[in-house]
């Protein structure tokens, strides 16, 4: 049976960088509720990463993600001088030197990915959604998280993709194939949204029209979170849903602010921020003479 919600796992390494010449090698492991990422940073630059689905065992997910990031690099885990765990399973990263919340890590990661002008960050994660304000150094100044319901999360999108038989990576693009924007579906509950979507299909709505209605509902849902803390023009979106143009474009229309584009993968923000925290902590320990 096809699993339309299943997104493609991936890894990457910088082919031009020789990690052996790096003085500081740190890693961030973001064990989220849906996906896990491992990022390796060498001397402040992104060197390698992997992103995969989180399994039922957080320590295994962390290990698997890091192993995959290390694959074909010649680097071994013992070459990494400092590891920071973050995300929902951050305390279950057995080889982490420190655990830091995903809120702080996403802010730090966004600061790196989109520049130090970023002030408002929306992390649209697998099973929660966070609105964050930060300063020019990527330090959190205000945050708000909603993890009480799955509306406005990646998991909600996966449920709708599976219902409609549309690969989750194609949801955003397909949602634009409508002559005009429909009304949003229920924005307060994924279960109600799913049953509403089934009813709309029975009424003759196309898949694209249902997806457009769901993407709009999701955009409106998260915009309410953002409005609570306020949105500044220097706005950046992290997390898997940032890859869904159907939600992002509609959200930009709802809040009247365009999101900053970055060359980096939005899903890496947490792990990247964790690796950067690791670098700062390692430098501090070196300066204090705690490590060689």
């Amino acid at each position: 049976m096809a699993e339309f919600w299943r997104w493609k796992e991936y890894n990457w390494k910088d082919p031009d960088k020789d990690w052996k010449s790096a003085k500081l090698i740190t890693s961030g492991i973001d064990v989220g509720s849906v996906s896990s990422q491992a990022v390796i940073v060498a001397d402040g630059e992104l060197y390698a990463y992997a992103s995969m689905r989180t399994g039922s065992n957080s320590p295994d997910s962390a290990r698997n993600a890091l192993e995959w990031a290390l694959r074909d690099t010649g680097m071994k885990q013992e070459n990494i001088q400092y590891v920071v765990g973050t995300g929902y399973g951050r305390v279950n990263v057995p080889f982490a030197n420190k655990a830091i919340t995903e809120i702080a890590c996403h802010a730090r990661g966004a600061n790196f990915m989109a520049g130090n002008s970023v002030r408002t960050i929306l992390d649209m994660g697998g099973q929660d959604c966070k609105a964050i304000h930060c300063d020019e150094k990527g330090k959190v100044t205000n945050f708000l998280m909603n993890d009480k319901c799955a509306a406005g999360t990646g998991r909600g999108m996966e449920v709708i993709a599976d219902l409609l038989g549309v690969p989750v990576e194609q949801v955003g693009e397909l949602s634009f194939n409508v002559p005009e924007e429909p009304e949003p579906v229920s924005s307060t509950c994924v279960v109600f949204a799913k049953s509403e979507a089934m009813g709309l299909l029975k009424d003759g709505w196309t898949k694209s029209k249902v997806l457009a209605a769901y993407c709009l509902a999701m955009a409106k849902r998260v915009s309410e979170l953002l409005e609570r803390i306020g949105v500044e023009k220097e706005f950046f979106i992290t997390g898997g849903i940032a890859k869904n143009a159907g939600v992002v474009k509609r959200l930009e229309q709802v809040i009247g602010v365009s999101a900053i584009q970055s060359k980096y993968d939005s899903q890496l923000a947490g792990a990247l921020g964790a690796a950067l925290f690791g670098q700062a902590l390692l430098q501090k320990e070196k300066a204090a003479g705690k490590v060689a």
Binding site: I100, L144, N146, K148, L225, R228
Partner: protein
């Protein structure tokens, strides 16, 4: 830092906001014992500051836990806000 703990659901918004910059200079931490439901705890945050936070296990039930301190009529100052001498705590509802 303004830390917002709580949630929004179909019935409304239920957020407690703690201005943690005010916690760092507070010697009393009155919020810990000031709340009859003991929803607050002291934590070391990501920037190594000792601040007050709403306990993780109660963040999604604030509407019910705080209800006893929020009668529909004759509501006075909330015990947690009264106990917080720096004025760091606010409720959204």
């Amino acid at each position: 830092m303004l830390a917002n703990y709580g949630y929004k659901d179909g019935s409304g918004e239920y957020f407690i906001t703690i201005d943690t910059d005010k916690c760092t200079s507070c010697p009393h931490h009155g919020c810990i014992d000031g709340c009859p439901e003991h929803i607050y705890e002291m934590i070391t945050d990501d920037y190594d500051d000792n601040v007050s936070a709403v306990r993780r296990d109660v963040r999604n039930t604030l509407k019910y836990l705080c209800a006893a301190c929020k009668p529909t009529t004759g509501r006075g100052v909330l015990p947690c806000m009264a106990a917080c001498t720096p004025g760091a705590i606010t409720h959204s509802w």
